[in-house]
């Protein structure tokens, strides 16, 4: 003790300024508190932890940002889910690249029109912007308000962007997914609060709550791990990971024990990689499919006023969700109803009849109908058998198609949700007209179904048609039950990104060492384990597989 006390009193050399070691742990901030903190650190252990930086590549890193705990960018839905439809739901993105992530998914309406949406989003802190969220393919997912709150004036003290979406679970999940695809990671439960706390916000008394949350989290993780054992999906992920480790083994063995092993057969290795890439794509497709099963289909029913859209919704959902009258333009706002189509959840959206109108309320309703059509997975165009296919119907559908195209203009080939033509009021029509209907519309519509909303006739045909146009198969009652959760989806996504990069590395004929970087990342993503574990696993595998040793 005595000698260590003496050391306290002796003036030993303080760590030098930071020009040499921009990474040494002493923060560059010179605030009083920091100074205090530093002194405390030094007295408890007189050590200098040194992370040297390559002088040759100096300056390529930003060192201005102070150590932030979880420095990745995270995203999550922060409003409650599953408790019935709320008016608004919020997806929050937080972290150093929050603005970049948001910029990828969010298109402010104003700038979009002005600049074609190609310029990086540079938001002003605490200024609300209105715009659309697009997915990877450039499809509009939802219209949102984006609230940027730049560091440190935010909840977590990091850059935060909140996207205020429609309070519909499906919308929210899609927006979140777009964020994940843009590079955010899914936040752990309580992670925003944790970051807020660790970055110096929140009251000290809240620390306990967070701690409790975290221990609950580990219990939950155990639960979900248990759940993950069952089901075909996790075994698929596991086998992909094992394949990654095997490939890594082959490569790493050559790198660390070059002269002891036979040379690698590159073509077969490349074959293996492309097979894995294919498997991964399959898994992701499955994930997408499963995602659809989980989040459900969004089906917009559109059409001219008074063709029986609301009656159709009521008949389909076996409810009286929508008000039905003889008066054209009764429905002015969106009406939602949830149905299950052969086990697949779907949200029906009844829309205001689309027509030219002077009624200000109805005008807004019409706008919303169009927006709903833009975001839907399936569009059902309803016409009345009594009126038959009219000029106005043709005009309407043309309008929808062009607005979809313009919304997707960023894409080379705009994707239009499949459309189904429903001929309603089937009970009161002259039969012979039907043939010509089908001839007229076969180009635009994937299916034509005749229904009678009053009797409920044709609804089951309609359901079948919906599944068919989306390429979905009905779920057998006791069938495949494994689902892909958000986190597994993210794992797959990261692995796939790594494989894309690996592919480029191979194409650019980069040396073998560079392949291992992305393979390792893929294995990491699939394994959700730490890098050390991977190293150990690979080494064990090398020693068991190859005869090595001098």
């Amino acid at each position: 003790m005595a000698s260590s006390l003496i050391r306290l009193l002796l003036p030993w050399r303080q760590p030098k300024p930071h020009h040499l070691f921009p990474f040494s742990l002493n923060p560059t901030k010179t605030s009083f508190l920091f100074h205090l903190r530093r002194c405390q650190a030094s007295t408890s252990s007189p050590k200098r932890l040194i992370l040297t930086q390559d002088e040759r590549s100096k300056g390529s890193l930003s060192t201005e940002r102070e150590a932030i705990v979880g420095s990745g960018t995270i995203a999550a839905i922060v409003t409650s889910l599953g408790g019935g439809p709320a008016a608004v739901g919020i997806v929050r993105i937080s972290g150093p690249t929050a603005v970049a992530v948001a910029g990828q998914v969010f298109r402010p309406v104003k700038r979009w029109k002005e600049e074609g949406g190609c310029v990086a989003w540079r938001p002003k802190s605490h200024f609300v912007e209105y715009g659309y969220v697009l997915d990877n393919d450039g499809n509009v997912i939802d219209e949102v308000l984006a609230v940027p709150m730049l560091a440190p004036r935010s909840y977590t003290r990091e850059d935060v962007v909140e996207l205020q979406c429609h309070g519909n679970d499906v919308c929210l999940h899609r927006v979140l997914r777009a964020c994940l695809e843009a590079g955010a990671t899914l936040a752990e439960p309580g992670e925003f609060t944790l970051r807020a706390f660790l970055n110096g916000r929140l009251d000290l008394s809240q620390a306990e709550n967070i701690a409790r949350l975290i221990s609950a989290k580990s219990a939950a993780a155990a639960d979900s791990a248990l759940a993950g054992i069952q089901g075909g999906f996790s075994s698929l992920v596991k086998s992909l990971k094992i394949q990654c480790i095997e490939l890594l083994t082959e490569l790493e063995a050559r790198l660390d024990f070059e002269d002891e092993l036979p040379p690698l057969c590159l073509p077969s290795l490349i074959d293996k990689i492309s097979v894995m890439q294919h498997d991964l794509q399959d898994a992701l497709d499955t994930a997408n499919y499963d995602k659809l099963l989980q989040s459900g289909l969004q089906i917009a029913i559109i059409g001219r006023p008074n063709v029986g859209k609301s009656s159709l919704l009521n008949a389909w959902s076996k409810s009286e969700r929508a008000i039905v009258t003889e008066i054209a333009g009764t429905t002015r706002d969106l009406v939602e109803a949830n149905v299950s189509i052969h086990g697949i959840p779907a949200t029906l959206l009844d829309t205001a009849g689309i027509r030219e109108t002077d009624d200000i309320v109805e005008k807004i309703g019409v706008k919303r109908s169009e927006a709903a059509a833009l975001a839907a997975d399936v569009i059902i165009m309803a016409i009345s058998a009594v009126d038959g296919w009219s000029e106005r119907d043709a005009k309407l559908i043309e309008h929808i198609v062009t607005s979809q195209k313009s919304a997707n203009q960023a894409m080379a080939a705009p994707i239009i949700a499949p459309m189904i033509l429903v001929i309603n009021k089937d009970d009161c029509k002259p039969k012979d007209l039907l043939v010509s209907f089908e001839e007229i519309c076969s180009g635009l519509f994937k299916k034509v179904v005749r229904t009678c909303a009053l009797t409920g006739a044709g609804i089951s045909e309609l359901e079948k048609a919906v599944l068919e146009v989306r390429g979905l198969e009905p779920i057998p009652s006791a069938g495949r039950k494994w689902t892909v959760n958000q986190r597994q989806f993210e794992q797959l996504l990261r692995a796939q990104e790594a494989f894309f990069r690996l592919h480029t590395s191979i194409e650019e004929q980069l040396p073998m060492d560079f392949w291992t970087i992305d393979l390792r990342e893929a294995a990491l993503a699939l394994g959700q384990i730490s890098g050390d574990d991977i190293s150990e696993e690979v080494l064990t595998s090398i020693f068991s597989k190859f005869c090595i040793g001098k």
Partner: protein
């Protein structure tokens, strides 16, 4: 436990057990029996005399005033192997009065196994030690017999230089260097005890003959000598290496101080007389035409004539002989259970574990220019000596070979390195450092890497300067030490490139730009080296700038670039973007007169790598930055983990054992989950705030003005408000 006198507990143990002549015995190495006399008897007189003058006045180790001043040093290094030499040199060069104690002065920096330095990952260690101002790279450059660059086409980060070295010359050269430092004193001695002061701090060491040497810092680099025991077949004897006595007594002393020790095993193959070998049918392996260097100091770059290695293979007779005699080997006969390294299996291990492999490669490597000995690489065995010659003679080319030394295995004590912190100072005893095989590593390069760090820190500790810890991400040295002290390793640890998560950033070519500034700051890089370093960096920087600005259009050059890379060259392309194309090397620029003659070959390599792989390097760096942000948060070393109820029981135990210095290190401990890490973070942050609160209250009380608060961040003012 504090007592005024140094601890003498272990003098109760009597440190020796001699079992001559060799015959098979099976006793636990722990049961020491007394044989003091026989020790003296078998010691050659000459060597005794060297020591006797001191031994006579050191009466059973009690401190005496006259001796005290003379035998007082700043740093004592125990052991003169590759760790010991680096440690002693670093310490002496930093100005510390340093004593190097070794069992045998003629075996300084001896290479008891493979006479080679470098190879994948190991060469990076050598470059790094050199960049810090160490010796191993210069030695290998000075004493090489052959040099080859491995992994040439597999990427800049895994490219590795390997040198066969002249074992005798190496030892002699290193001895010269060690002897020529005026701060460094060398003495033959066997240390049996470490002397502990009342604050659990080191005071010095006591030797077998009763001498006490005093220093505030002691580095133990005992190699395979601590209770070493060598095996040939069933016969064994206490020895650190064939023909050299083991160091006895120190293990018990350390155990009595509360250190945990364990046992490791390694082995070395037979040596054969090169004159008895028929090389005509063997595949020769020549060195590189263009020699590369370990050291960044051009003064060491002196080319010499290279020798050739040869390649032979095991035959079916080899395999049969081994299968027939498996029960004669220690592992399969079952009389040795210490763990050998997985990457260094004996030939019987290889044959048993990979039955379907018909033949294994065996390399024949020269051990020196003036000796006929050949090292039979890949052929270490535990078979008895009577079978070894027959076994060697099953190899093509060795049909009539003469064996000069039999293969043997050695077992020795090591101290699982979780007992050290990352400065390599032990956690129990202040001022006591461990380095090299005592920490469970294998290899000269690993030893040297630890040696230089412990030497630096021992010197700094004696000067009461803060110790240096290289973070894992900074270097292979950092990775090595972090692994050693964090993970529970129970086999000899060898450095491998796959152990590093960011190896693309830890290359041989940038070892100097990563570590030389640190070496300069520590004080191991002199003005001349610093000058060389700076001008090199400047040349590289200017060249990169030049390549960015010089543009070319068409011509022969463009045509050849297109053929080589398979990519078209647009008009007015910069040299930089040409260099980025696949398979285009700086050499091609040279060939067409676009190169820069002022640059050396390795400087051109640096330029090429920086430009060619810029994208990947940047990506890795930003990845690294994330890790730095996350993991380099420091943990106080005196945390009471058992009181943290939010941690799992397992991790409370593991964390208390390892006492990590950073969050990152904590996360690498087996059994510590991510949830535990979060709990730790929260705990640390709450403590920080509590401490802040307290200091602020005190400040307020002592009448400090409020203007500090303006500088503090908004949340801290929330805390202040609650504090008031």
């Amino acid at each position: 436990m504090a007592s005024a006198t140094p601890r003498l507990l272990s003098s109760l143990f009597t440190p020796l057990r001699l079992t001559y002549p060799i015959h098979a015995i099976r006793t636990s190495h722990r049961s020491r029996t007394l044989s003091f006399l026989s020790f003296n008897l078998r010691r050659p007189n000459g060597r005794l005399r060297t020591v006797s003058s001191f031994a006579s006045n050191g009466t059973n180790g009690m401190e005496r005033m006259g001796q005290k001043d003379e035998e007082r040093y700043d740093v004592i290094v125990v052991g003169g192997g590759h760790a010991g030499c680096e440690a002693a040199l670093a310490s002496a060069r930093l100005g510390a009065r340093t004593l190097l104690l070794t069992l045998n002065l003629d075996r300084i920096a001896w290479q008891p196994c493979n006479p080679a330095v470098g190879g994948p990952a190991k060469s990076q260690l050598v470059h790094e030690v050199d960049a810090l101002g160490g010796e191993i790279g210069k030695m290998a450059d000075r004493c090489y017999l052959q040099k080859r660059v491995l992994n040439l086409s597999k990427g800049p980060a895994v490219r590795a230089l390997r040198a066969q070295t002249d074992k005798r010359e190496y030892a002699m050269e290193m001895k010269k260097v060690v002897e020529s430092n005026s701060n460094l004193f060398i003495r033959e001695a066997m240390v049996t005890e470490v002397l502990i002061g009342k604050n659990d701090n080191i005071q010095g060491v006591r030797t077998f003959f009763g001498m006490d040497f005093f220093a505030p810092s002691v580095v133990l680099t005992t190699g395979t000598f601590m209770s070493g025991k060598i095996w040939v077949g069933r016969a064994s004897m206490p020895a650190g290496r064939a023909g050299e006595s083991a160091s006895l007594g120190l293990t018990e002393n350390l155990q009595s101080l509360g250190f945990e020790t364990d046992r490791l095993k390694t082995g070395t193959p037979a040596r054969v007389d090169c004159r008895s070998i028929d090389f005509s049918g063997l595949e020769p392996q020549y060195g590189d035409d263009e020699v590369s260097w370990f050291s960044f100091d051009p003064e060491c770059h002196i080319e010499r004539e290279q020798m050739c290695c040869y390649l032979t293979r095991t035959t079916s007779e080899t395999h049969k002989l081994i299968s027939d005699n498996l029960n004669e080997t220690p592992t399969y006969g079952g009389w040795v259970d210490a763990k050998g390294p997985r990457y260094c299996p004996s030939i019987e291990d290889k044959i048993v574990r990979f039955r379907d492999k018909e033949s294994h490669q065996i390399f024949l490597e020269p051990e020196g220019r003036t000796v006929p000995e050949l090292y039979v690489q890949g052929f270490s065995t535990g078979l008895p000596e009577r079978l070894q010659l027959a076994l060697l003679r099953t190899l093509p080319g060795l049909e009539n070979c003469v064996m000069l030394r039999p293969a043997y295995a050695v077992e020795y004590d090591f101290l699982p390195a979780y007992q050290c912190s990352r400065s390599l100072m032990t956690k129990k005893i202040e001022g006591l450092f461990f380095s090299g095989q005592i920490n469970g590593t294998t290899g000269y390069e690993e030893a040297a890497a630890q040696g230089i760090i412990s030497g630096i820190n021992a010197a700094r500790h004696s000067e009461r300067k803060p110790l240096i810890v290289l973070e894992r991400e900074s270097s292979y040295i950092g990775t090595l030490i972090d692994d050693l002290v964090t993970k529970d390793l129970r086999e000899p640890y060898r450095m491998l490139t796959s152990r590093s998560e960011h190896r693309l950033l830890l290359r041989a070519d940038n070892a100097d730009s990563r570590l030389t500034p640190l070496g300069r700051e520590i004080g191991l890089i002199d003005d001349r080296r610093w000058e060389l370093y700076q001008s090199k960096q400047l040349r590289i920087k200017e060249e990169k700038e030049r390549l960015k600005n010089v543009r070319v259009s068409g011509g022969e050059f463009a045509a050849e670039v297109t053929t080589v890379s398979g990519q078209p060259v647009r008009d007015h392309t910069t040299l930089e973007s040409i260099l980025k194309k696949p398979h285009v090397q700086y050499k091609l620029l040279d060939k067409h007169g676009f190169g820069n003659e002022n640059l050396s070959r390795c400087e051109k390599d640096c330029v090429e790598i920086d430009i060619k792989y810029a994208g990947f390097i940047m990506r890795q760096q930003s990845h690294l930055q994330q890790i730095v942000n996350q993991e380099h948060k420091r943990l106080p070393e005196d945390l009471d983990y058992y009181s943290m109820t939010t941690l799992s029981h397992e991790s409370r135990e593991k964390l208390s054992k390892v006492r990590p210095q950073t969050i990152g290190q904590a996360s690498r401990i087996g059994g510590v989950s991510p949830a535990d890490i979060t709990a730790l973070l929260i705990w640390v942050e709450s403590n920080r705030r509590k401490a802040n609160q307290r200091t602020q209250q005190e400040l307020l009380r002592s009448g400090a003005t409020d203007n500090h608060m303006a500088a503090s961040s908004p949340t801290d003012s929330v805390v202040q408000a609650t504090a008031i």
